[in-house]
Structures are given as structure tokens and as C-alpha cells.
Amino acid sequence: MNTSNSKFTWNNPPEASTTVTINFEGETRIVPAGVTVAAALLGHDDEHVCRSAADQEKRSPYCLMGVCFECLVEIDGLQNRQACLEPVFDGMSVKRQDKVVNEKK
């Protein structure tokens, strides 16, 4: 579950603890129960979490306490959820907010 390119390591090995299964961008991921969505993403690989709505640059969690809005994801169809405030639960579907938009006008 800890794919090699994540920059982080789990200190409570998830094998040893209870896990939940979430769906991320259509793929199944097994993550430790009780962790936040932000941690589930950071602990899995090294992809950015979202893109800035203003300049489309890649962004990832900065404050991890609900202040910076740099970890916005879509959870179960609802956009703009702060990944650092949402604990994972079984069957949760998460998508990164990654749209590169060329705004008309």
C-alpha cells in the first residue's frame, strides 16, 4: 500500500492496524482507518492534491489544519472538501480537483 514514490512513511504500519478501502480516481486504495484524506493521499504517492483555481499550478496540503484550502478534493461527488479535515471511511470516493481550465472571458 505504501507505494515507493510517496515522500512519507506510515509509522503505525497499516498492516498491523485496521484499514479502510477508499476509491481514489477510480482505483482502490487500502489506507489505515482513522487517518485524514490528506494523509491517505500524501502517504500513498507523490501526486499533487489539487490545482490552484487562479493559476492552475499544482498544489498540495500546506497547513493541514483547515486554514489554507490547498488540499481541496471531491468527496463522494461533492467538490471543495478540505482533505485535511475529512477522515477516511470505507467506500469513500475521492477525486483530486485537477481541472486545468481555460476560462472563457
Binding site: 483555481a53 461527488g77 461533492l78 467538490q79 471543495n80 481550465v101 476560462e103 472563457k104 472571458k105
Partner: protein
């Protein structure tokens, strides 16, 4: 200190009037109790709209609209203006009938800026509107501007034209003298002028009462809201409704500014406004009905500003009948922003005794006399 004209209120009406007067060689002083653009001038929804206006305002709005194209030359800033066609939607056949009539009325007056849009045209302009919409009335020349930028640009242009703009200076006393007016400010200084312009927005009634010329201007707190960026949702077209409160401004960055008649409770004395969350609920309901795709949008922020309103929802522009030499330009009832350049011009004309470019009879200050 003496001047030809004393202007109370440094909003866009006061500054627009001042610029025109200064260009006509008059010495002008503006008294602004806070900063230019602190209230409605700088904090409105930014709509530069002819569409849907009271027909009495149409001639002024059409002239003003031309002036918006030349702001860079006239005041040195484009004010962040850009065209965003404004589409007023009909949600029923009865509403559509109203819009058709409106087009006819305007045509009979010689105006063709508002055109009936059939369903196909509505969908072309605004592909995401709900299925129940039956048609609309489009004004292709309407647009949006940045109100704060506009207010600041007007204030800067006034100063450049040698208008003396006194900020953080409240007029605490105003008197009629044998040869004009005398005002005393919060800094304790006195100023004299031959004529006086009342551009005090929400405070216009109070100010005018100081001079014994009561005006039935009352304060309201228009409440604007803004969503996160929903690129493509409005397709660059701003929306209005015919039978319900709502104005949706298609901001360039993709966010949607909501205006169109929401109000919050306020205390004018303390200059305090409490954003009423019910306004957000009401607006959200209508918004998601009109644009179902907005369900996933977010309300990011509300803001409010003090505005002066009148019962008949058109402003008071003209010389007081009770106090000669006192000129009112106020009570724009939450739609003065677009009119500012034209109002500045006509007020400057009547202040120096010229015939205004357009007749101001509909906006006479004495039209409420004897009316309950």
C-alpha cells in the same frame, strides 16, 4: 476656505460631478467622511447595465454606457470594464409577455438596446439555464466593472483636475448664508461655497435635513454574494430574472457575483451591517433552480454596503426647490453605479446654470412633496 462648489460625499457621483465642474473651470472641494468608494460606490456588484432599468432612467443609462467605453481617456482608467451581455430570463409565458412589451415600449421611445431572445438565443447565450426558462430579453452591450477600482479612478481623476478632495473629513454642520453655503467639518475647519452638491448616498436624507430640505431617502444594505470559480457556467453572460429577485454577474475569472435586491439589517448610525444568512439561502434556492449546475458551487463570501433608496426607486437629481443653490444627486436605489458618468455631467451643467443634456424632470427633488 472658499470654493465655487462644495460637494459632500466622495463617492462616484460626487467625484464625477467634481471632475466635470473642474473641467468647466470651477473651484471644487469634496468632503468625504471616510475614503472614496467606502460604501455603495466601491462595494456594489459592479453591474454596468442598461437592461431592466426604469424607463425614466433609460436615456441617461444609454448615454452613460457610451461614456464607459472612454473611461481610459476621460479618467485615466478602464475601471476594469468589460462587456458581459445581460440576459433577463422569463420563467413563464406571462413573464415573456412582459419582456416583449418592454421591448416595444423601449422601441417606441427610440431605444433598441434590449432585444427579445427566443429560446434558441437564450441557450446560445447561456447554455446552462434550466429547462423551465421560456425566453429572455438580451442587452448585448451591458457589462461589468470593478467598483472599487472605478471609485478610486474617479477620485484620482478629480484630484488630477485640481479638485480638493478631503478624506476622513465629515461635514458636521451645514448652513445657508447670504451668498451660498458654509460647512463645518470634523476637523473644525469651515468652508464656504456658492453652491452645494449633496452626493451623500445613504446619508442623503440626513444631510439634506441639516439644511432644512428634508428628502425621503432611506438607507438600505444591499447584500452581494460571490461563488467560487465556475468557469463556463454563465458563458460570459450575466443573468437577471423577470419575476424574482436575482442578478448573476459573470465575473471574468469564472466566479459569479450575486446581487439583485437582497438586503441585510443595519444600523446607519453605527455604520454596522449584519449579513443576514437567510439572504444566502434565498439566493441559493433561486440560483440552483435557474442553473442546476450550481448545486456544486460554493458561496465564498457575502458583502454589503450602505445605499440610499427612494420609494419610487429612481434617484433625486436636481436643484432643491426649498434651498436654491443646493443640488441633490442621490437616492440611486442600488443602481447608480452605471449612471455615474452621465449624472456627473448633467449635475455639473445645472450647477453652472446650463441646460442639462437630458431633462431631469423625472428626478425632481420635490416630486414627493405632499405625497404620502
Amino acid at each position: 476656505m472658499k470654493a465655487d462648489v462644495l460637494i459632500v460625499g466622495g463617492g462616484i457621483m460626487g467625484c464625477a460631478t467634481a471632475i466635470e465642474l473642474a473641467n468647466k473651470g470651477k473651484k471644487v472641494i469634496i468632503f468625504e467622511k471616510d475614503l472614496p468608494g467606502r460604501h455603495a460606490s466601491g462595494n456594489n456588484s459592479g453591474g454596468v447595465r442598461c437592461q431592466g432599468r426604469d424607463v425614466r432612467e433609460i436615456p441617461f443609462a444609454v448615454e452613460a454606457r457610451k461614456m464607459w467605453d472612454h473611461h481610459l481617456q476621460t479618467i485615466g482608467s478602464d475601471c476594469g470594464f468589460y462587456v458581459s451581455p445581460r440576459l433577463r430570463l422569463a420563467e413563464s409565458d406571462a413573464e415573456m409577455e412582459q419582456l416583449v412589451k418592454r421591448e416595444e415600449t423601449l422601441k417606441s421611445m427610440g431605444y433598441d438596446h434590449e432585444v427579445v431572445a427566443d429560446l434558441e438565443e437564450v441557450r446560445r447565450l447561456s447554455p446552462n439555464v434550466a429547462d423551465h426558462v421560456v425566453g429572455g430579453l438580451a442587452c448585448y452591450t451591458d457589462g461589468l466593472a470593478n467598483p472599487m477600482l472605478t471609485s478610486k479612478a474617479y477620485a484620482t481623476a478629480a484630484e488630477r483636475a485640481d479638485v480638493q478632495l478631503l478624506i476622513h473629513t465629515r461635514v458636521i454642520e451645514a448652513k445657508i448664508t447670504s451668498n451660498g453655503f458654509k460647512v463645518k467639518t470634523s476637523s473644525g475647519k469651515e468652508y464656504e461655497g456658492e453652491t452645494l452638491v449633496n452626493g451623500t448616498g445613504a446619508w442623503a436624507g440626513r444631510f439634506s435635513a441639516m439644511l432644512g430640505d428634508p428628502l425621503p431617502v432611506f438607507a438600505t444594505a444591499p447584500t452581494m454574494m460571490v461563488t467560487d470559480r465556475m468557469p463556463g457556467m454563465l458563458n460570459g453572460t450575466s443573468l437577471g430574472l423577470t419575476g424574482r429577485l436575482l442578478g448573476l454577474m459573470a465575473v471574468k475569472n469564472g466566479s459569479i457575483v450575486v446581487g439583485g435586491g437582497y438586503r441585510s439589517p443595519h444600523d446607519l448610525e453605527k455604520e454596522k451591517i449584519w449579513v443576514d444568512p437567510m439572504q444566502m439561502t434565498k439566493a441559493s434556492r433561486i440560483m440552483t433552480e435557474i442553473l442546476p449546475g450550481l448545486k456544486n458551487a460554493q458561496m465564498i463570501r457575502c458583502w454589503t454596503a450602505f445605499e440610499g433608496c427612494l420609494k419610487d426607486k429612481v434617484p433625486v437629481v436636481g436643484e432643491s426647490t426649498n434651498v436654491p443653490g443646493l443640488f441633490h444627486v442621490c437616492g440611486f436605489s442600488a443602481h447608480g453605479f452605471q449612471l455615474a458618468p452621465m449624472m456627473g455631467r448633467v449635475v455639473s451643467q445645472i450647477v453652472i446654470g446650463q441646460q442639462p443634456d437630458l431633462p431631469l424632470t423625472d428626478f425632481r427633488p420635490d416630486r414627493f412633496d405632499g405625497v404620502e
